[in-house]
Symmetry: none
Subunit: 132 residues, 4 copies
């Protein structure tokens, strides 16, 4: 099962609404179950460097079917996934990447958000993931 | 002058309408004047390999303020831009990348489309560029 | 708003003056608002390895509209931006990259300096940024 | 013997003068004898995609101590250097890259110009190389 473009747009709309509510400027990326890009938006004046980070957070979340920030906790010095960021062409393990599931619980894609604090990035991504 | 997200969404909507009219499935990318990604959509079941091509066509168009296919005509063997595809991390010089101008004629971004014949790709990109 | 070449040269001249005052040898890079290179100089006998570092510091500063060293503080183990250096094709989060603003406060580009201690690199970049 | 920054600036000044005389907008790069960047300028509104091309033309010229366009003649289909552009991280074999020699004839660096027709690019690079 793959996320559809219509679903991706629903997720992005919900994430943008949350971004506006938090008074932030976000880059938001949606990948499908194959970790390939489906949809992306950068809000006006959002950080340019967050384009790539939003994409990589989503990829990281789907590559391990885990929130990106959870992986970041395991990749600290001494942790079991130390330096995992070097794999897969460069991963981003900060919060803000979340797998997207359908109502049966199957993973159908992932969302990544970047543009503010990692706490806000996570909230925006969560709003998108919850919209489906 | 940079394209806004609202303008990018207008361009994407017009390009999608054209893609549907042509009975094709497209990847559509919009970059700003600095050649940084603003918005992207992949229609359901459009080629995965066209994600990168749509992005690179748009980049190629903005990098030289010229339709990507025009560059492709110059990059043929014996042409003045032979092998230009090796520059800039890999360029795509097939039709389907077009600079986007505002009503004053200033370049504010670029659109790239990929998913069908290059003729169709060009028509879809043109519909997007013309919408502004 | 983009930095002009004339402004970039003013910034480089001020940065070089500071480099000489500090008795250092610097690589100095200026990017525009789209993070694309505008001007670069390497002082005679400055480190070759600092070419890339000066370029990446400037890119890092513009990508997040923040001094590169500030990002480096957040990217330490346990910090909120841990391993952010893996994004965007490789970022450099040491001091020495600074956004450049015009007199209205709009970001029009960024400067990166590398060739000595990071403290000196920062002072040289600051001298360049302050010249506009 | 390596080109100095002062010599690089002399070459760039001469190349810019020629660019203005030809009514073109150029990216101009100077490398040293080790093929490492010494100085670069992008004239206002010159093509963004020509940043990389100017750099690669200069690199190509120094890597083979030959004008880049000469290599491009040998890299045509059936030629002795066919597909040489795939080497060295991507070479650009269009005219506009020229080795720089000192008055004793020793190669001390290279210049690359990009921003117009390859004929104009070559004339601009030649003006820079001749200035030393």
């Amino acid at each position: 099962m793959n996320i559809t473009l219509a679903q991706a747009e629903t997720a992005i709309a919900a994430a943008r609404e949350k971004a506006i509510e938090l008074n932030t400027l976000m880059n938001i990326a949606i990948l499908d179950a194959g970790a390939n890009l489906v949809a992306f938006v950068r809000m006006d004046k959002a950080w340019i460097g967050s384009i790539d980070i939003a994409l990589r957070k989503a990829k990281t979340a789907r590559y391990f079917d885990t929130n990106s920030g959870e992986i970041g906790r395991m990749s600290q010095p001494g942790g079991p996934a130390y330096q995992i960021e070097h794999s897969n062409g460069g991963m981003i393990t900060m919060p803000g990447g979340i797998p997207i599931r359908n109502q049966q619980g199957d993973i159908i894609g992932a969302i990544g958000a970047s543009g503010s604090t990692v706490q806000n990035d996570h909230l925006v991504a969560q709003a998108g993931a919850d919209a489906l």
